[in-house]
C-alpha cells in the first residue's frame, strides 16, 4: 500500500520538474448576481484547462506568457480576460447571468461543453433547473425523484424517494448534505425527500468509480450542496402547493463578506383533519417540516468559514393513542484555507443524527420506544494543484458512531411495561485517502487513488458467538472503550479516459467500496423504524468491486450520447433468515441474519439534449442483480428484490413561449422480484400460504406518464412569480404497490390475488414567487 502511494508521488514529482519558469493563476469563481461560489466552472487558458472545485476555487499553472483566460459555467455569460503571467496571479472571477434575448429562447440545462476528457465516469449532474421541470407527485419538486429518471438509478417504489443504484439496495447510497450524512432521506413513509430543492446549489451522483474522497457505502454517492446565501442583496422566495408551503430568505450580513440563508418547508395536510367531525381524526396528526440554515463568512483573502445545518421532523399520530415522530438533524462547520496559489485545504466538523420515537398509550399499556444513530465526523483535506498535469487530494476522515438500537420506557407509573434498553453500539471509523488526477497525455487522463478504511468496534457491550442454527452459544463482555474488533480495508480506485477525437471518448474505471453501517429493512415499504446496525464480530464489512466501461459522444451541437456497462461483485451481503424478526428485543440481532454474496451487471444508455427549446433525455437500462446466501433459496442464486430487467425513462421539457413551458416524463420498468406463495394449507382451521422460493416471481411491469406546465406570471427584477401545474400518472395506470393473497369474499373456497395501487390521476397546482 505504502509503496503504491510513494511510487505515485515520485511519478508526480518527476513530471513536476519545470521545463521553463511557470506561474500559477488562482482564485475563486462566483456569481456576480448573488455572490454564490460556482462549482465546476470551466477555466481555460490556451491548451490548459481546469474546473473550479466544490468551493469555487481554481488553480492553473502555466509557463510565463500572455494568455486569454476563458471561464464558462451553466447559465452564465462567458467570461474572458487577457492575462499576462509573469508572476503568480490571484484572479477572482465574478460571472454575469446569461442574457436571453426576446427572439431567441434557448435554455441551457446542462454544461454545453461537458468534460469528455475527465476520467470520472458513472457520474450524473442534475441541475436545479432540471429538478424544476420534472413533474412530480403532488407538485413537490424533488431531487431524489429526478435522479431516479437517470440510467442505472431506479425508484424504490411508486411515489417513493428511495432509490437503487446499479443493483445496490437503498442503504448502499451515501447521501450527503453539505458533507453531512443523511441517514433517512425521506418524509412521510418515503413519498417525499428531505431535500427542499429551493436551497440546493449542486447535485452530483456517482454511480460507480467514485473518487477516493468518498467512502462508506457500496453503490453510490449523492453529494448535495446547499446554496451559501446571497451576499449581494436580500432575496425572499417561496411557494404554496397542494400539500406544503415553503419560504426561503437569504441576504448579506456584510456585503461581499458574509451572508445567510434560511429555508423552511411544512406540509399542512393535517389542517384538513381538523375539519373532520370525527374526534379521532381531529386529534390525528400527519405532517413534516424541514429547516435549512446556513451562514458563511469571508475571513479574508485566504479563509472562509461556513456553518450549515438541517433539521427535519415527521409527525404521525392517531388520536392520542399512537404517535411516531422521526427526523434527521445535521450540522456542518467548514473552514476553507488557501495556503498558496497551489494548495487549498478544507476542514469540516460534522454532526449527523437520526432518531425516532414511538409513543403508545392504551389502558394500562403506556410506553415509548426510542432509537437513534449519531455521528461525530471530522474531515481534513488538502487539494494540491501540483502542476497542470497533476491535481492531488489527500485527506483524512474520522467518525465516531453511537447507535441506540431500541429503548423501551413506560410513560407513566401505571403502565404494565417495564423499562428495557438495548445496548448502545459504539464504533470508530477512520479513513486516509490520496488521489491524483493525472493528465498523462493530451488524450489520456487518469485518476488513481486509494482509500484506507479502518472500522473499530468499541465497548462497552456484549458480543456473541453463534452456532450454525444462529443460536447464541457464547457471550463476550467488553468494557467501556475496549476494542472488540478492528477491520482494515484498502479501497483502490482507478479511472482512465481516452479521448478518441474532439467529440468522443472512452472511459474505464475500477473501484472498491466498503460499508460498515447496514440498514435492516425487512418490509416492502420504507419505514422510519428500519434499523441501522454497525458491523460487529459477526456482521462483516460489506465490500463491492465495480468495473465499468463507457463510451461518450457529442452527436451534434447539443445532443450527447452516453453509454456504460458495468459488472459488480459484492461480499458479505446481508439478507434475512426465513421468519426473521428484526425488531427482536435482543442485543444479538445477528441471530436473524444470513450472509452471502451478490453480483450485478448491466448496460446503461442515455441520449440527452441539453439546450434549445426542447430539452430532456431518453434513458434505458438493462440489468441483473442476484444474491447467493447459504440458508436462503436452497443456497441457489436468486434475484435480489431490486432486480429489474428493463428500465426506460423519457424526460422532456419544451419552452412554448417566454411565459409557458410544458414538460412530461414517462417511465417503464419490469416489476421487482417478489416472493409469492406457491401453495396453501390449513392450520388451526384457517388457510395459510406456503412458500418455496425467495423472489421467484415478478410484480407486474410498471409504467406511468406525468405531465406538467409552468406559467410565468411576472418576471421582473423586483418580483417574479409562476404557477406550476402537474398531473401525476396521467393515464391512470394501476401500478401494483403490493400484491397480497386472500380467500375470495364471494367464494371463500377459492384463493385470489389482490393488487393495491396507490396513485392515479393526482393533479396539483403550486404558486412560486421570488422578490
Amino acid at each position: 500500500m505504502k509503496e503504491i502511494v510513494l511510487t505515485a508521488l515520485t511519478v508526480c514529482l518527476a513530471i513536476a520538474l519545470p521545463a521553463q519558469e511557470r506561474f500559477t493563476i488562482s482564485g475563486t469563481v462566483t456569481s456576480k448576481k448573488n455572490g454564490e461560489t460556482l462549482i465546476g466552472a470551466t477555466i481555460t487558458a490556451g491548451a490548459a484547462g481546469t474546473v473550479s472545485n466544490e468551493y469555487g476555487f481554481y488553480s492553473l499553472s502555466l509557463p510565463a506568457g500572455e494568455y486569454l483566460l476563458e471561464v464558462s459555467a451553466v447559465g452564465k455569460e462567458i467570461f474572458s480576460r487577457q492575462v499576462t503571467l509573469d508572476k503568480n496571479v490571484v484572479l477572482n472571477i465574478s460571472m454575469e447571468e446569461e442574457v436571453i434575448s426576446m427572439e431567441q429562447i434557448t435554455i441551457t440545462a446542462a454544461p454545453k461543453n461537458r468534460s469528455l476528457s475527465s476520467p470520472q465516469m458513472g457520474v450524473e449532474k442534475v441541475t436545479t433547473k432540471e429538478v424544476r421541470n420534472v413533474p412530480v407527485l403532488l407538485g413537490e419538486r424533488d431531487i431524489l425523484k429526478t435522479i431516479q429518471l437517470l440510467p442505472g438509478i431506479k425508484s424504490a417504489g411508486d411515489g417513493n424517494s428511495g432509490f437503487f443504484v446499479r443493483g445496490g439496495s437503498a442503504d448502499q447510497n451515501l447521501i450527503l448534505l453539505d458533507e453531512a450524512n443523511v441517514y433517512n432521506a425521506s418524509h412521510l413513509l418515503g413519498f417525499f425527500s428531505t431535500f427542499n430543492s429551493d436551497a440546493i446549489k449542486d447535485i452530483t451522483v456517482y454511480k460507480g468509480g467514485m473518487p477516493a474522497q468518498y467512502g462508506g457505502r457500496l453503490s453510490s454517492v449523492l453529494d448535495i450542496k446547499m446554496n451559501d446565501g446571497n451576499n449581494q442583496d436580500y432575496e425572499v422566495s417561496g411557494g404554496i402547493g397542494l400539500i406544503s408551503a415553503k419560504l426561503n430568505v437569504e441576504g448579506p450580513i456584510k456585503k461581499d463578506k458574509a451572508s445567510f440563508l434560511v429555508t423552511g418547508r411544512r406540509t399542512y395536510a393535517d389542517m384538513f383533519l381538523k375539519l373532520s367531525n370525527d374526534s379521532i381524526l381531529q386529534k390525528s396528526r400527519l405532517y413534516f417540516y424541514d429547516l435549512n440554515a446556513k451562514v458563511n463568512y469571508n475571513l479574508g483573502e485566504k479563509d472562509r468559514l461556513y456553518l450549515s445545518g438541517y433539521f427535519g421532523q415527521d409527525v404521525l399520530g392517531a388520536s392520542d393513542r399512537f404517535g411516531i415522530h422521526w427526523g434527521n438533524a445535521t450540522g456542518t462547520i467548514r473552514w476553507n484555507h488557501i495556503y498558496n496559489s497551489k494548495l487549498f485545504s478544507n476542514t469540516s466538523l460534522i454532526l449527523s443524527n437520526y432518531n425516532y420515537k414511538i409513543s403508545i398509550a392504551s389502558e394500562g399499556v403506556n410506553f415509548d420506544i426510542f432509537s437513534q444513530i449519531n455521528d461525530w465526523n471530522l474531515k481534513h483535506e488538502f487539494q494540491w494543484y501540483l502542476n497542470n498535469r497533476n491535481n492531488i487530494r489527500i485527506g483524512l476522515n474520522t467518525i465516531y458512531h453511537t447507535l441506540r438500537p431500541g429503548e423501551v420506557r413506560p410513560s407513566n407509573d401505571k403502565s404494565s411495561i417495564n423499562i428495557r434498553l438495548l445496548q448502545r453500539r459504539y464504533s470508530w471509523e477512520n479513513s486516509l485517502y490520496a488521489t491524483n488526477t493525472w493528465k498523462a497525455t493530451d488524450r489520456v487522463n487518469v485518476t488513481y487513488g486509494i482509500r484506507l478504511t479502518t472500522f473499530s468496534i468499541l465497548g462497552k457491550g456484549d458480543y456473541f458467538t453463534l452456532d450454525e442454527n444462529r443460536n447464541v452459544v457464547d457471550t463476550m463482555r467488553y468494557r467501556k472503550g475496549e476494542f472488540v474488533k478492528t477491520y482494515v480495508n484498502p479501497e483502490p480506485r482507478l479511472a482512465v479516459s481516452y479521448r478518441l477525437n474532439s467529440s468522443s471518448s472512452l472511459k474505464g474505471a475500477y473501484a472498491r467500496n466498503v460499508q460498515n453501517l447496514h440498514l435492516l429493512a425487512n418490509s416492502t415499504t420504507s419505514n422510519p423504524t428500519d434499523k441501522w446496525v454497525a458491523s460487529t464480530n459477526i456482521i462483516k464489512p460489506e465490500i463491492s468491486d465495480l468495473v465499468s466501461l463507457g463510451y461518450y459522444k457529442d452527436l451534434w451541437n447539443d445532443v450527447e450520447l452516453n453509454t456504460e456497462v458495468y459488472y459488480k461483485t459484492m461480499q458479505n451481503q446481508i439478507d434475512y433468515k426465513d421468519g426473521a424478526d428484526i425488531f427482536i428485543n435482543t442485543d444479538a440481532v445477528e441471530t436473524q441474519l444470513l450472509f452471502g454474496r451478490g453480483r450485478a451487471y448491466g448496460w446503461e444508455l442515455q441520449l440527452k439534449k441539453k439546450a434549445g427549446k426542447l430539452t430532456g433525455w431518453v434513458s434505458y437500462t438493462l440489468a441483473k442483480t442476484e444474491k447467493q446466501i447459504d440458508g436462503i433459496n436452497n443456497n441457489q442464486w436468486y434475484n435480489a428484490r431490486q432486480d429489474r430487467t428493463h428500465d426506460v425513462a423519457v424526460v422532456a421539457s419544451y419552452e412554448l413561449s417566454k411565459k409557458w413551458s410544458i414538460s412530461a416524463n414517462w417511465v417503464y420498468n419490469t416489476g421487482n422480484a417478489v416472493s409469492f406463495p406457491t401453495g396453501k394449507y390449513s392450520i388451526d382451521g384457517q388457510v395459510a400460504f406456503y412458500y418455496t422460493e425467495r423472489n421467484g416471481y415478478r410484480m407486474p411491469s410498471y409504467h406511468r406518464l406525468d405531465i406538467g406546465a409552468n406559467w410565468i406570471l411576472k418576471q421582473r427584477k423586483r418580483l417574479s412569480s409562476e404557477l406550476s401545474f402537474s398531473l401525476y400518472n396521467a393515464y391512470g395506470r394501476q401500478n401494483a404497490y403490493t400484491i397480497s393473497f386472500q380467500q375470495s369474499k364471494s367464494d371463500p373456497e377459492r384463493t385470489e390475488a389482490v393488487q393495491l395501487a396507490l396513485f392515479r390521476f393526482i393533479p396539483s397546482v403550486s404558486y412560486n414567487f421570488k422578490f
Binding site: 379521532i280 392517531a318 399499556v365 418490509s523 401453495g679 396453501k680 384457517q686 412458500y691
Partner: protein, 268 residues
C-alpha cells in the same frame, strides 16, 4: 402491535388515492408437503394430531386428510401415548391423559416411510384472573373487545396465546403475546378485531369464550413468524417464508404442549 397500528396509519394516509383490485397471478405448482398440527393440553382428554397436505393455490380450500399414518406422543419418562385415526386425517389419543407442566413431549409421525418428529415442553400455567368486554371508540366506530387480565410471574419467560370464540364460532385471528416487556407485572391484554372485519365483531349479548394458552418458546416463534412472514398472505414483508416450525423432517405446522384455561363473558 406497533407494526399493526403503523400499517393501519399507512392505510389511513393513502386510502383517498389507493385502489384495490383482484388480479390474475400465474403461480407455478409446487410439490405437496405434509402439514401436521399436534396438540397436547393439561386437560384430561383425548388430544389430537391433524395431518393434511398443501394444495395448489388454484385448488379449492378443502384440504384432504392424510390417512394411514402412525402417530404417537412420548413423555420424558418413556410413556408412549398412541394416536388412532378418528376421521379423515384427524388422529386422537386412544386414552385420555393430562399433560404435566414441565414435562417434555415428543411427537412421532410416520407416513409412507417418512418420519417426522417434534418436541414441546409444557410450560407453567399462569392463571388468568378475569375476562371482561369493553368498548372502544376508534376511527369513528364503537368496537367491543375482550380484555384478559393476569399477573405475569416474575423471572421466567412466559408465552401466551388466546383463541377467541364469539357465540361458539371460532375466530381465526392469531393473538400471541409474551412478557418480554411486562415481566412480573399485572397485565391486561386486549383482543382487538380489525375494524374492516365486519363478520367478527362482538355485539351486545354475545357470549365470548376465550381459550388462554401458555405455550413454549418454539410455539411462540411459530405464531410470531406466522404473522410476520407472509403465511397470512399479506404483501408487507420483503422476504416471506414459512413459519419456523419445531417439526423435524420437512413438514409444515407445529406441535404444542400447552396449558389451557377457558374464560367466558357476555358482552354488555
Amino acid at each position: 402491535m406497533r407494526r399493526g397500528l403503523y400499517t393501519g396509519l399507512i392505510a389511513l394516509a393513502v386510502c383517498l388515492v389507493s385502489c384495490e383490485k383482484v388480479i390474475d397471478v400465474n403461480v407455478r405448482d409446487a410439490d405437496r408437503r405434509y402439514v401436521i398440527e399436534g396438540v397436547v393440553t393439561d386437560k384430561p382428554e383425548r388430544h389430537y394430531v391433524k395431518i393434511t397436505t398443501t394444495q395448489n393455490l388454484s385448488d379449492n380450500n378443502n384440504f384432504p386428510g392424510v390417512r394411514d399414518a402412525a402417530v404417537s406422543v412420548t413423555d420424558e419418562s418413556g410413556t408412549s401415548f398412541v394416536f388412532v385415526e378418528e376421521e379423515d386425517g384427524v388422529y386422537k389419543s386412544v386414552h385420555s391423559f393430562a399433560g404435566v407442566s414441565g414435562s417434555i413431549y415428543t411427537l412421532t409421525v410416520d407416513i409412507n416411510g417418512e418420519r417426522f418428529t417434534a418436541v414441546s415442553t409444557m410450560p407453567h400455567k399462569v392463571e388468568m384472573d378475569t375476562m371482561y368486554i369493553t368498548e372502544e371508540f376508534l376511527f369513528g366506530q364503537v368496537r367491543k373487545a375482550a380484555n384478559i387480565a393476569y399477573r405475569d410471574p416474575q423471572g421466567e419467560r412466559n408465552y401466551y396465546r388466546f383463541i377467541q370464540f364469539i357465540e361458539g364460532m371460532r375466530y381465526n385471528r392469531v393473538f400471541v403475546t409474551n412478557d418480554e416487556y411486562t415481566d412480573g407485572n399485572a397485565v391486561t391484554d386486549k383482543l382487538r378485531t380489525p375494524s374492516d372485519d365486519e363478520d367478527h365483531q362482538i355485539e351486545a349479548g354475545d357470549t365470548v369464550t376465550v381459550h388462554a394458552l401458555c405455550m413454549d418458546k418454539a410455539n411462540n416463534d411459530y405464531w410470531v413468524s406466522f404473522l410476520s412472514s407472509g403465511a397470512t398472505g399479506g404483501g408487507g414483508t420483503a422476504s416471506p417464508a414459512n413459519p419456523t416450525t419445531n417439526i423435524q423432517g420437512g413438514a409444515l405446522g407445529y406441535f404444542s404442549a400447552h396449558t389451557l384455561q377457558v374464560l367466558e363473558a357476555v358482552a354488555p
